[in-house]
Amino acid sequence: MAEPLLHVDNLGKRFGGFVALDGINLAVQPGERLGLIGPNGSGKSTLVNCMCGTLQNETGSVRFDGQIMDGLPANKRTHRGMARSFQLPRPFVTLSVAENLRIPLLFTAHSRGGRHLSKEETENRCHELAGLVGLAAKANKLPRDLTQVEMRKLELARAMAADPKLLIADEAMAGLSQSEVDEIVALLIKMNERGVTIIMIEHIMRAVMAFSQRLVVLVTGKKIADGPPQEVVGHPEVIGAYLGQ
Amino acid sequence: MSVELLINAIIAGLLLGGFYAAVTVGVSISFGILDIVNIAHPAFIILGSYIAYIVNQTLGVDPILTAIIVLPGFYALGMVVYQVYYQSFEKRGQDALRGLAFFFGLLFVTEVLLILVFGVDYRYVQAAYIEYTWHFGFMDIPFRMLIPCVMSLLMVGLLQLYLSRTFTGRAIMAVSQDQLALQLMAADPIKIKRTAFAISIATASLAGAFLIVIQPVEPSVGREYIGRVFAICVLGGLQSLPGTVIAAMLLGVVESLTATFSGPSWAPAVSFGFLLLTLAFRPAGLLGR
């Protein structure tokens, strides 16, 4: 097998005495579409936070694109090509939708050997991204004028704006209508076809099954299953974890 | 340097530290538990000092007794301040900048008002015990330090009991950790926070009386306490009252030693330097990880 794009090794994280992540091992191949599921509070978002440098893990290490990420601040990891959306959208509230999308373009797009985009290119790219998630008409609105669903779309588009090698979408689709979910899944698959590796965290099983090539299940901070989606959802332990709730 | 001087300095420092615990406990509640950066707390303390002073001057009532009597007034004041803070800043969302400016403005306005009314002269109170000192061999224990220290430890102890044993007390502790758990306890977080903040301001009444028993007071004395209060609060681990007492004693001793051995002109730098060092190297507190 090729060198994995992302390699998480024995990752552990506690909050006070509470063990949120307990020795997680995970390898993601370049170009993969990975689904990450688990009951509420199982540590999915915490795993993302540790991988992306938003939180500091206590044990274990994260390797991305052949480089050790441990100790690097989140912005450096984004520069290396990891981008994520937040589960609870965190837009920049005093900046318009277009300006929100401009931030990763200004601060990240040039980071991997590229050059700074020209003013015009930046503008075009902002509007293209807003269009991709259906926010073109609201490009000049402030986040407070958006609905919760539009906020999620902005969150996803902002992560995409960083032009990542690995995109992590943390529950980007909660609350969306069926057709919108299909749209976003199609969008993510299209991105993946252009070479972006994607980790999708989702509770909407229809979207997970449509999207994932591989499925990882987290329960109370432990990885309990990892494999082809059909197999994993039939796994007795996984069924137990979900029904046992 | 003589051993006697050293021991006396340490005793004075511990007594001072006990008093510092009373000064800080309000901030441990407002900043540590409620996450409200009430830098105006020292101004409320000075207000307490002046009330104790006025009553002492006009009616001759003991300052600490006065403080206990006006406690409900401070409690009410605390509720009002919290209500304004909540309506104007907390409810509108994450606007830390303006909340800080608000408290800074309060600090400043209170100080200037006191200056306008009382001028910048030092004021002091009269009470029988203030002149009295115990002597054990070479050790001196002045009552003007001992009484505030004992009363203050008593107050912190009672607060600790209140926070750990009563329903409201536990709810207050829960506010800082888990809003959801609070709702499960069927408590209204705003009401709980208002109560907690009001308690924190109420402690300022007593701390103010202690202060004016220990030393003469003028309006800008309050500012010296900002550094102390936050240094102790952070060093004590923010929300732990026992931690606050330990940190307060530590700072008291350090200050007392500096004042004894290198002169009073360096004293202001001690607490603030302490604070800077704490923030730089031990932001999780003395007992924190």
């Binding site: 440098g53 938003t54 601040p73 989140a74 912005n75 984004t78 520069h79 981008a83 937040f86 965190r90 837009p91 920049f92 509230v93 005093t94 900046l95 318009s96 277009a98 300006e99 401009r102 931030i103 990763p104 200004l106 601060f107 990240t108 980071s111 000049n140 992560a159 704006a161 | 900043f31 950066v37 830098i39 304004v84 104007s88 830390a96 900048l97 303006r98 400016a101 608000f102 800074f104 403005g105 400043f108 306005v109 200037v112 306008l116 800008s220 500012r223 010296e224 900002i226 550094g227 936050f230 240094a231 360096w266 202001p268 730098a269 603030f272 330097g273 604070l275 800077l276 923030l279 730089a280």
Partner: protein
Amino acid sequence: MRAFYFYVSSILVGGLFFAFARWLGNDYLFFAGYTVLQFVVLATAWNILGGYCGYVNFGSAAFFAMGAYSSVALHKLAAGVDRYFPESLVGFAKLILPLNIPTLIIFGGIVSGLVGLGTGYLTLRLRGAFFAIATLALAVVLQTLIVNWDFVGGSRGAYIIRPGEVPILGSYIQYLFLVMLVLAVVALAAARIIEQSRLGYGFATIRDDEMAAEACGVPTLKLKLIATTMSGALMGMAGAPFPYYIGYLEPSSAFGLAYAVNSIAMPMIGGTTSWVGPLVGALLLGIIQQIATVTISSAINLLIVGLLLVGFVIVAPKGIIGLVQDFMRERASDKGQPTWRSRLAIFANMRPGAR
């Protein structure tokens, strides 16, 4: 084009005031004008960190005083060249000392900028509230250091004998006024340039949500350090000519609470999202205070500032500029055509996001 208008109009306004005051032949106007301009610089400097990044600096007085005391130190050095320099260097030292005001300003800027960088480095990794508290502490620690440093006069203070005359202008205070005028324009220009640049966007993301900013690749720590350094440096530059203005500098005047309060109150009252706010706030409060010190006591003066600060943060969190913008937006949305109000709004650099 807008930049051009900005420079032309600011120089025009300053120049007109200068000509008017000279024509009246009233030196008091220059003294008062200097103080107001000094507050323009302080408020603008504070706003670079406070308004743009959302980090409150309570220690403006400390940065201002460090600038002032760096001038005092250099002044003392110049006065005692023979004592402080080894013989071989005396000739050289006499050649460059005493330094002129613009050089002192640069020195003051460097000293205070470094103090800002140091404070930021120690505390900016922590939550914003800790930074604010640290700056409060910083002011007291630095004041104690100065009080105990005899070379710059210690607690007794230091006399600075300023030259009575300068070439061309004649009066020294007029010279100082012009220097401060240039400094104010420089500070405003810096704030303007930041606002419209990548740096300004980075600052705004820090103010809004640091965690999200990091995730978008914004190097928040680095930007915050840039902001504290710039803000501190500008405050130090405002302080550097101060000993020459006041003639006798003591720690309690250099570290005066009035500086800390005004440099917060002015941007807060004017409005923090653009460079216009601190300018408006500083002019307004500065002029009120200049008039008020003549007529009423300085304590009442400060009380007014404090009450205005508290009132504004509660009632009008966006400041005067915010109020004006809301008013203009209402009017502008009536008709589709640009009006003088909407033009003014554009001149006031109303970014789509800045509200």
